[in-house]
């Protein structure tokens, strides 16, 4: 399974971000230690948030879970950290996800996968109001169906988006994310 999350760094983070009350509601004590030891704690707060969001999407779709606001249950660990590229692991209920994040001055984009071998393809857009159409355009070429085929994306009652082709629900896995001026999606690459 896969999940992704994008954060527009132009949007100010919560005014409460460096208060214990805020941190204690979202981050475990280990995560808080990592935040305070970081050279840029504010950025680390956002990176860890993006891991929790991306893992939530993967975990919810994988197990078809009810919606829940439980960020603290997603335990994140940063494993590798170098020049704008961060590798991590997220644990939730004894399930592990592997993450990769790309950090630029403009955005943070995190992808998570449930198996280390899984390859994904990510697309990031700036000022795009047509994320679903962009995703459908990519999928229609993957499916080798003309764009005129009736692809659509609908959310189920748990708010998990699914792809439909001519009204028939597809097994296609994907993950969408928007924040501010940025949007992104990822797809698994099945032939790798």
């Amino acid at each position: 399974m896969i999940g992704n999350d994008i954060i527009d760094r132009q949007i100010p983070i919560s005014k409460n971000w460096n208060t214990p009350r805020y941190l204690n509601k979202i981050y475990t004590s280990l995560e808080q230690q990592h935040i305070s030891a970081s050279v840029d704690p504010e950025l680390m707060v956002q990176i860890l948030w993006s891991l929790k969001e991306a893992a939530y999407k993967a975990h919810q779709r994988r197990f078809n879970l009810k919606r829940s606001y439980n960020p603290i249950q997603f335990n994140c660990q940063i494993i590798t950290e170098e020049n704008g590229s961060i590798g991590g692991e997220i644990n939730i209920d004894d399930v592990i996800y592997f993450s990769h994040s790309k950090i630029t001055p403009q955005f943070i984009h995190s992808s998570v996968i449930s198996e280390e071998k899984l390859k994904t393809s990510a697309k990031i857009f700036q000022k795009s109001l047509t994320l679903k159409q962009d995703l459908i355009a990519t999928l229609s070429s993957l499916y080798k169906k003309p764009q005129s085929s009736r692809f659509s994306i609908k959310k189920n009652k748990q708010f998990i988006p699914f792809l439909f082709l001519n009204g028939i629900k597809q097994d296609q896995v994907f993950s969408l994310s928007h924040h501010g001026n940025f949007s992104a999606f990822i797809l698994p690459l099945t032939n790798s």
């Binding site: 949007i11 983070i13 919560s14 005014k15 409460n16 009350r21 805020y22 509601k25 979202i26 948030w49 969001e53 919606r67 829940s68 606001y69 439980n70 603290i72 708010f159 924040h179």
Partner: protein, 83 residues
């Protein structure tokens, strides 16, 4: 405090974080913080902190998990105020 007053206070608390203002027009128990009001999920914690301050209660992580609509928030506040 009546449930109606609580709901009105919740509306005031969430307003600064709402990105879809028309969602506030018919604010009721079913109003979904993310789907209807497009509140950023990272700001839901700010909403919860403001609710704690306004009602002088503490919202534990288990209660926070289920705070997805105005009605959920109202029920949690009513329960905490009764304790």
């Amino acid at each position: 405090m009546t449930e109606k007053t609580i709901l009105e206070k919740i509306k005031l608390i969430v307003t600064p974080y709402v990105q879809r203002k028309e969602g506030l027009k018919d604010f009721n128990d079913k109003t979904d913080f993310i789907a209807d009001l497009k509140i950023n999920s990272a700001n839901l914690v700010d909403v919860i902190l403001d609710v704690e301050d306004e009602f002088n209660i503490e919202i534990d992580n288990t209660s926070m998990e289920g705070m997805l609509t105005a009605g959920d928030a109202k029920r949690i506040i009513v329960t905490k105020l009764a304790n």
